[in-house]
C-alpha cells in the first residue's frame, strides 16, 4: 500500500483529507507540526505530502524548505493546502519547493482528482 503524509494541525481537516485519501487507496501518515512532518517525510519516504501552510511552530513553507534541503526529501511531491485569506502567498509557496496547492475549504468529492492532477502534471514534467 502506498503511504502518503498529511501535515495538518486541524483535526477535522485532517480527518476529511484522510477520508479522501483512504478512499483513494492510500495509507495515511499524519503529522500535526511542521517539525514532525519533516522528520516523518525523511524517515518514511511517503509517495507525496499534503502540507498545511498555517501550522504551529515552523510553518508549512519552512517545513517544505527543510524537506527540500534534505537528501531523501528532495524528490517527494509536496501539495500545499492554503487558506483563502493567504492567496497572495502562492508565489512564496511555490518558491519554497511545493509542487502545487489547493485551497481550504475544498470539496471532498472532487479534491482527489485535483491532487492527482497536480501530481500527474509533476510526473509528466
Amino acid at each position: 500500500m502506498k503511504t502518503v503524509l498529511v501535515v495538518e494541525d486541524n483535526k477535522d481537516n485532517l480527518q476529511i483529507i484522510t477520508y479522501v485519501l483512504q478512499r483513494a487507496g492510500y495509507e495515511v501518515l499524519a503529522a500535526e507540526t511542521g517539525e514532525e512532518g519533516v522528520e516523518l517525510t525523511i524517515a518514511r519516504h511517503p509517495v507525496f505530502v499534503i502540507m498545511d501552510i498555517d501550522l504551529p511552530g515552523i510553518d508549512g513553507i519552512e517545513a517544505t524548505r527543510r524537506i527540500r534541503a534534505s537528501e531523501t526529501g528532495s524528490s517527494i511531491p509536496i501539495i500545499a493546502i492554503t487558506s483563502y485569506a493567504m492567496r497572495g502567498d502562492s508565489d512564496q509557496i511555490m518558491a519554497a519547493g511545493c509542487n502545487g496547492y489547493f485551497e481550504k475549504p475544498f470539496d471532498p468529492l472532487t479534491i482527489m482528482d485535483r491532487i492527482h492532477d497536480l501530481i500527474g502534471t509533476l510526473s509528466k514534467a
Binding site: N10, D12, I16, S83, Y84, G88, S90, P105, P108, L109
Partner: protein, 748 residues
C-alpha cells in the same frame, strides 16, 4: 718783380755801351794809325804806336772803373731798398687789422696767412697751411666764390670783393668781407692770389637783428587786430595797415591820400580836433566812439591817438589806433543781461537758494530763502552768512569750509536750532561754484525747510507705532487662534490616527474572521459532504435531506463570508490583482463542469462554447465573475436554457462574454439598482432563491477594478436576461488605471 731800369742803367743798355765802345775803338784804331803815319815820322812810328796802345788801355780802364763803381753803388742802394721794403711788407702783412691770406690759385690751398686771418677763422697757422679755402667756406657761398675766382683767373675781372661765411674751427659761422686780388701780372700764369678778410659778423648780426625786429614789428603791425593808421596834419591818411583793411574794408590804396574814411561826417570836427591836440604833443587814449566801415555799417571803436614825430622830433601828424569793440560791447551787454536774468532767476526761484563768495558773503539769495528763514525784506547782498545767522553751528561752518575747498555735501534732514529757541528741520545741499576753471568763486546753498513735513512724518511715525502696537495685539490674538487651531489639528490628527487604527482593526478583524469563520465551515462542508456521499456509511432519506440542508447552508455561509471579505477588500483598494497567462476554453470548461450537475438537476440546458483563446488577465477573478453570473442565471431560470457566447473584438483587443438565460427577467426600473450592494430585487422568486445581495455588486467591482472592463445588462421581464462583460484580453500594467464606466441597456 718789378725793376727800375732807369736806376740800374742810366746810360743805356749794356749792349749799347758795348757797341759804342767797339765803334769808338775801331774808329780809334783806324784813324789814329792813319793820322800817326802822316804826322809822325816813320821812325818814331813804333814808339808812338806803343804809346797810343797804352793810352787806349788807360782810357778803357778808367772807363771800366767808373762804370763798375757806379754799378756797385746802385746795387748797394737797391739791396738796401729791397730789404727795407721787405721788412715793411712783412710788418704790414703781419700787423694788418684785416686777415690776409696768400692762396694757391690753382688748388685753393693757403700758402701764407697772417695772425688776424688765423683769429678770424679760428685755426692755427700750421693747420690752415694744410687746408684750402673751399673747405672752410659755407657751402651756400662757395659757388659764387668759385665763379668769381674763375672770372678773375680768366682775366674777366681784376679783383673781386664779396661778403661770405667761413666755418670756424669750432663750427661757428663767421661773416667776412673778402677782397681777393691776383698776385700775377697780366699775361703771367696765375700762381697765387691774396685774400683779405674783414670780420663782419657783428655787423651782420646787428643787421639780422635789426631786420628781424623790423620784420616783427611789421608783422605785428600787419596782423594786429587793430587798425593802425597814420595821418598828416591835415588828417590825410599816410599809412594803413592790414588790420585797418580787415576792420573797415578799405585797402591801403583806397584809404591813403584822403581824409580818414572811417570817420563819419558828424565826427569830422572831433577828428580834426584830436589831430590838432596830437600835434601839440598830446597822447589821447581810451576814447570810445563810432566809426564807419566801407559798407557803411557802424562799429563801436576804442580809439587811441598819438603824435607822429619826424626825425627831428617834431610832430608832423598822428598815429591813430582803432580797436573794433562791437563784439565786446555786445558780449558785455549780453553778460549784463544774463547776469540780470540770473539774478532774477535766483531771486524768484521757488527754492531756497543762496549764493556766497569765498568769504561766505551773500552774492544772491532767492525770495524763498528770505521767506523760509524768516528774514523779511532784508538786503543780504554783501553781508556775511554768519552775521545773518550767528547761530550757525561750528560743524556747519566746517562744512562750508570743505565746500569752499571743492567738496559737495548734502543732508536729507538736519536740525537747525534757531536763536529764538525754535528748531527747523532742513534739507540742504552745498556745492562750490567756479568763477574760472579750477578757481572756486564761492558756494551755492540749496536748502529746503522741511519742518512741516518732518512734523507730519513724526506724527505719521507715531501713528505707525500705535498701529504697530495694535497689529502686535492682533497678531497675538491671531497667534492664540492659531495655537487653538493647532491643538484642534492635533486633536484631529489624533482622531484620524484613531480612525486609521480602527480601520486597521477592521482589516485585522476581517482577516481573522475569514480564517476563524472558514475553518469551522470547512468542517461543516467537508463532513456533511462526506456523509452525504455515504463514505462513512449508508444514510436514510431523512438523514440525507438533513445533511443536504447542512451542506447547502454551509456553502451559502462560505460564499457570504467570501463575498464580504472581497467587498471589504475591494472598497479598501486592497484586492490584489494577479495577472496570468491562461486559455479561456479551459476556464469555460471548468465553469461548465461546476454547474453541469446543478443544471441537469433543474432541467436546464447549459451551453458553453468550445474554443481556444489565449489571454492574460486575473483568471481567478474572471472565473469568480462568471461563476456568479451563471449561478444567478441558473437560480432565476425555471425552464429553458443558459447560453454563454464569447465574442472577440480584435481591433480593440477586447473579449465579451455574454450569459443569457430564459429566466424571469428584470423590470427596467430595477436594472439601475442591480449592481448596488445588499440590494436584492423583490420578485416572487427572490424570496425562494438564496443570495447575499452582494453578488452583482462584487462582480461589477471586480470587472471594473480588476479586469478593467465593463458589465451591462439587457433584460425583459418574463423572457430572460443577458449579462455581458467586456474586458481587455491582455491586461497590461498600464491598463490597470483605466476606468470603464458600467452601462445598462434595456431590451424592450
Amino acid at each position: 718783380m718789378k725793376r727800375d731800369r732807369t736806376v740800374a742803367f742810366p746810360s743805356g743798355s749794356p749792349l749799347r755801351i758795348v757797341l759804342g765802345y767797339t765803334l769808338f775803338g775801331a774808329l780809334w784804331i783806324l784813324l789814329s794809325d792813319k793820322l800817326m803815319t802822316q804826322l809822325v815820322p816813320t821812325g818814331l812810328l813804333g814808339a808812338v804806336s806803343i804809346a797810343k796802345g797804352w793810352i787806349f788801355i788807360a782810357f778803357t780802364a778808367l772807363l771800366l772803373h767808373f762804370l763798375i763803381g757806379r754799378h756797385t753803388k746802385i746795387m748797394a742802394k737797391l739791396t738796401a731798398d729791397a730789404q727795407e721794403k721787405e721788412a715793411l711788407f712783412r710788418s704790414l702783412f703781419e700787423q694788418a687789422a684785416v686777415g690776409v691770406a696768400q692762396i694757391d690759385s690753382t688748388t685753393g690751398r693757403f700758402v701764407r696767412v697772417n695772425r688776424r686771418y688765423c683769429e678770424i677763422v679760428g685755426y692755427s697757422r700750421e693747420e690752415l697751411e694744410s687746408l684750402d679755402f673751399q673747405t672752410i667756406t659755407h657751402p651756400d657761398d662757395l659757388a659764387a666764390d668759385l665763379e668769381n675766382m674763375r672770372r678773375m683767373v680768366a682775366g674777366e675781372i681784376l679783383e673781386f670783393s664779396v661778403e661770405k661765411r667761413y666755418f670756424r674751427k669750432n663750427g661757428e659761422l663767421v661773416w667776412v668781407n673778402l677782397t681777393v686780388s691776383p698776385l700775377w701780372a697780366p699775361h703771367e700764369r696765375p700762381a697765387w692770389h691774396i685774400a683779405m678778410a674783414e670780420d663782419i659778423t657783428k655787423r651782420k648780426r646787428a643787421e639780422g637783428e635789426l631786420h628781424e625786429a623790423l620784420e616783427k614789428l611789421r608783422t605785428i603791425l600787419q596782423s594786429a587786430p587793430l587798425a593802425i593808421i597814420s595821418a598828416d596834419r591835415a588828417g590825410v591818411v599816410t599809412s594803413w595797415n592790414t588790420g585797418a583793411e580787415r576792420i573797415f574794408g578799405w585797402s591801403d590804396l583806397e584809404a591813403m591820400g584822403r581824409i580818414c574814411p572811417t570817420v563819419p561826417p558828424e565826427g569830422l570836427d572831433d577828428y580834426h580836433a584830436t589831430i590838432g591836440r596830437c600835434l601839440q604833443g598830446e597822447i589821447i587814449t581810451g576814447m570810445v566812439g563810432y566809426r564807419q566801415k566801407k559798407d557803411m555799417t557802424i562799429i563801436n571803436a576804442s580809439l587811441s591817438t598819438a603824435p607822429l614825430l619826424n626825425s627831428a622830433g617834431e610832430a608832423v601828424g598822428a598815429t591813430i589806433i582803432i580797436e573794433d569793440i562791437t563784439e565786446r560791447k555786445n558780449t558785455e551787454n549780453n553778460l549784463q543781461r544774463n547776469s540780470h536774468l540770473f539774478q532774477l532767476f535766483i531771486e524768484h526761484s521757488p527754492a531756497s537758494v543762496a549764493m556766497f563768495d569765498r568769504d561766505m558773503k551773500y552774492i544772491m539769495a532767492s525770495r524763498r530763502f528770505l521767506l523760509d528763514y524768516g528774514l523779511g525784506e532784508q538786503n543780504l547782498i554783501g553781508r556775511s552768512h554768519y552775521d545773518v545767522f550767528p547761530e550757525i553751528p561750528e560743524e556747519w561752518r566746517e562744512i562750508h569750509r570743505r565746500c569752499l575747498a571743492g567738496a559737495v555735501e548734502r543732508s536729507e534732514e538736519d536740525l537747525f536750532p534757531r536763536l529764538d529757541g525754535t528748531s527747523d528741520w532742513v534739507r540742504w545741499e552745498i556745492r562750490p561754484w567756479y568763477e574760472a576753471p579750477g578757481k572756486i568763486g564761492g558756494v551755492i546753498l540749496f536748502s529746503e525747510v522741511i519742518t512741516a513735513r518732518k512734523l507730519a512724518e513724526l506724527e505719521l511715525k507715531k501713528h505707525r507705532e500705535q498701529l504697530e502696537v495694535l497689529v502686535a495685539e492682533k497678531t497675538q490674538d491671531l497667534q492664540r487662534t492659531q495655537l487653538a487651531l493647532q491643538f484642534m489639528l492635533e486633536d484631529l490628527n489624533e482622531a484620524n490616527e484613531k480612525l486609521r487604527e480602527v480601520d486597521r482593526l477592521k482589516s485585522m478583524f476581517i482577516a481573522s474572521m475569514s480564517h476563524e469563520l472558514r475553518t469551522p465551515l470547512n468542517s461543516v462542508i467537508g463532513f456533511s459532504s462526506i456523509m452525504l456521499n455515504e463514505w462513512i456509511g449508508p444514510l436514510n432519506d431523512e438523514q440525507k435531506k438533513s445533511l443536504t440542508s447542512i451542506l447547502r447552508s454551509g456553502k451559502h455561509l462560505l460564499s457570504l463570508i467570501n463575498d464580504v471579505i472581497d467587498v471589504s477588500k475591494t472598497e479598501a483598494g486592497m484586492l490584489d490583482v494577479s495577472s496570468e497567462e491562461f486559455e479561456l476554453g479551459g476556464l469555460l470548461a471548468e465553469l461548465e463542469q461546476t454547474f453541469a450537475m446543478e443544471a441537469e438537476e433543474r432541467g436546464l440546458s447549459l451551453t458553453v462554447p468550445q474554443l481556444h483563446l489565449d489571454m492574460r488577465t486575473d483568471r481567478r477573478r474572471l472565473l469568480q465573475c462568471l461563476l456568479n453570473l451563471v449561478s444567478n442565471a441558473i437560480k432565476f431560470t425555471e425552464q429553458g436554457e443558459i447560453t454563454l457566447i464569447v465574442r472577440k473584438n480584435e481591433e480593440r483587443g477586447e473579449v465579451t462574454i455574454a450569459v443569457t438565460d430564459t429566466g424571469i427577467g428584470i423590470e427596467a426600473e430595477d436594472q439601475g439598482r442591480l449592481f448596488q450592494a445588499f440590494n436584492r430585487i423583490h420578485s416572487p422568486i427572490s424570496s425562494r432563491v438564496p443570495g447575499t445581495g452582494l453578488g452583482l455588486y462584487l462582480t461589477k467591482k471586480i470587472i471594473v477594478e480588476i479586469l478593467h472592463g465593463s458589465i451591462r445588462v439587457a433584460s425583459e421581464p418574463g423572457k430572460g436576461s443577458t449579462f455581458s462583460i467586456t474586458f481587455p484580453g491582455r491586461l497590461e500594467r498600464e491598463q490597470k488605471e483605466q476606468q470603464i464606466p458600467v452601462t445598462t441597456e434595456v431590451k424592450s
